[in-house]
């Protein structure tokens, strides 16, 4: 379908800059970001195109789509971008803006709740039992003591991330490979 450029979001660039994609206007579409991107060949995440869409104000083509959440934030593009346009920063900014609109994929909500309740993004029960098997000393982690988790929750509660990330007070982690302190 033909895209009429007049009808695009003229504030998108400013919003992205405000949210951390400070150098997005430096992009001149050389394509270095996309050529080194590890997920580009197998997903819809096309970072060169995303940068251009931001500059044109095509927010509907980005914010409502899953693609920006497929970036692994490996920072390869940010490292190599000859214009220092910071493509990864732009992706993170777009995620922030997307979250503000209430659009976050379920997997990301899961991770956020894991951190809030367990202190970890991923669960580590199997790893801990392995350490016992080889007589390795016990590991102190963010989730190994209730007081650490209290601190994490206090930090999150003080920001509006608690709302954005859809933190549920009543929450049960998925699977059985979970540790939770008493």
């Amino acid at each position: 379908m033909k895209i009429i450029l007049n009808n695009t979001n003229k504030d998108l660039v400013d919003k992205v800059i405000e949210n951390g994609g400070k150098r997005v206007t430096e992009c001149f579409q050389c394509g270095m970001c996309a050529s080194g991107c590890p997920v580009a060949s197998d997903t819809d995440h096309k970072i060169k195109r995303t940068m251009h869409q931001v500059l044109l104000g095509l927010d509907e083509q980005i914010l409502d789509k899953k693609a920006i959440w497929l970036c692994t934030t490996c920072f390869m593009c940010l490292e190599r971008c000859p214009q220092n346009a910071g493509p990864t920063d732009v992706v993170i900014a777009l995620r922030r803006m997307s979250a503000e609109k209430g659009i976050i994929p379920e997997a990301q909500i899961e991770v956020a709740n894991n951190i809030y309740h367990l202190g970890h993004a991923v669960t580590v029960k199997k790893g801990i039992s392995l350490r016992e098997k080889v007589d390795a000393p016990p590991l102190t982690t963010a989730g190994s003591d209730k007081k650490y988790i209290d601190e994490i929750q206090k930090i999150v509660d003080s920001t509006h991330a608690v709302k954005l990330l859809k933190i549920r007070k009543e929450w049960k982690p998925k699977g059985d490979d979970v540790i939770a302190c008493d």
């Binding site: 895209i3 009429i4 007049n6 003229k10 206007t25 430096e26 992009c27 251009h52 500059l55 044109l56």
Partner: protein, 659 residues
Amino acid sequence: MAKTQSKKKKQSDEVPRIGVYVCHCGTNIAGSVNIGEVVEFSKNIKNVSVVREHMYLCSEQGQNMIKEDIKKEGVTRVVAACCSPRTHEEIFRKTLNSGNLNKYLYEQVNIRDQCSWPHFKDKDNATNKAKQLVKSGIYRASELEPLQDRKLSVLKSCLVIGGGISGINAALDLARSGYHVYLVERNPSIGGKMAQLDKTFPTNDCSACILAPMMVEVSNTPNIELIIYSEIENVSGHIGKYHIVVRKKQTSVDWEKCNGCGDCSIVCPVKVDNEFNCNMDKRKAVYIQFQQAIPMKAVVDKKKCVKCKLCEKRCQVGAIDISKNEDEFVEFDVGSIIVTTGYDLFDPNKKAEYDYDHPNVITSLELERMMCASGPTKGEILRPSDGRKPHTISFIQCVGSRDEKTNDYCSRICCTYSIKHARLLKEKYPDMDIYIHYIDLRCFGKGYEEYYRIAREKGVKFIRGRISQIDSIGDRLEVSGDDDTLGEQISVIADLVVLAVAMESSKGAKKLANLLNISTDKTGFFKEIHPKLKPVSTDSDGIFIAGACQGPKEIPDAVSQGKAAASAASSLMSKGEIEIEPLFAQITEDLCAKCRTCESLCTYKAIKYTDEDKMEVDIALCKGCGVCSAACPSGAIKANHFTNKQVRMQILALTEGIH
């Protein structure tokens, strides 16, 4: 002294001892020509005494090798099988000179352009062809004769044709060096296209503020004679002494009296399209071209004047005489000529898809005039259709450039000037929505990349993809194109469309080229001899080119070339005399029947029938092309360095053994 004489005798009379030198030119020649085979083959040819090969013959080492052979092996003729004589003949002639051998006893065989390059896929035949060409060079070398350069006196004055930024710089540099300069300008004022510009990239400084002081300096320099509102009528003569006839178009205004007050324009009732403002407003039939005009004098447009004589009556100094109709002619001689006639803009009507007929589709120069505080809108950007401020503007690049249907070349300046316009508009109207539709952005000059970056930071949107169509939608324009990155068709509903039109050779270029006997290339721009070795020289000695008449270029390059041409002209004129090659035709009077066939054939008008019933060759004009010699029915004309004997030997070499 006696020794040199005997040597000279030896050079011409005895059996020649030919040295043959085959150059590898790295892999340039050796990559496809078997150098060893060519060397072995050459050894068995008559009169050859030494054959050698070298990786780079033109290196100091290579040249010393030749000099050594002249000294120790008694070599009396040199044949170099290497690259083009266009670039290297002069170098090797000097080698012979410094080896005390007459420099015209040298023959160059171009086995690079004629063998290794065109036949790089066929090594055997490239080698065979090289052998044959070297053989023909050797045969010719046996018949070469020593010749002496001729001295020619050179006038210390220069004609500069065209008073744009390039011509102004050339004229100023020459005048500062003490030469007398005639600066001829077709329009009522000097300044050229730059005078029409508002600001110039990459510094965004005001065009007039850079140009106007230079224009003033031109008019205040006693060495510069301004010949304004004039065109070249005729050019004759030759390097060192060209005779120029200039037609001064009738202005009907006595410039000695005119004080540039402009009262005449105020009373004049005739309104005419104002070319200086791209016809976007009107001027009068009697007018001063623009506010900073040099000279600040009025001109009567004779084609439009209705002879009401209101201006005559109004003029307080009595400078106007409408009854004057005849053009005047000025004649003078100069030692050299610099051509700086600039360019014209592509006519966008030739690209029907861009709908230039629509009032809101304009060219970049029209926009430039609008942006200028002294322009038709006093610096405001207004839609020509209704005088309203546009909100959305689309710039379309490469209109008439990089297009086989119009001009296949890149006009070099359009990317950066569109970026300039976009930037200046964004600075003035931050809310304006600006799109630049491009194929490639070529911002190649010093500081231009930063210039482009700032445009992006200001929010100018760059869309890669050529626009295919512009349609009217109500009072707006739909610009339809493709976005390369999105992979989708896009359109912009614009209030104003600006076409980045190409630079073309100026309309009078062909006529001037004929008058001056210089060449134009396939695009119509004047042709330099060599882009690197002789970038401002033409094939007429003593005539130089500079600025956009040579090819599209921006102001910094046009200035540099103007200065380069001044330097080239100055080094030609500084000694007051020059040495010229003795490659001219000589007439044996006893054989000449005065049939005058040669006179009618000579392109350079170098042969003339004189009052004394003789045919005479003007050796300064003669290029030694040999047309006269070939045509002469009685064989009376000898073309130096290309004698019948020399040419016949070459033919013999190439046809020997063929039955």
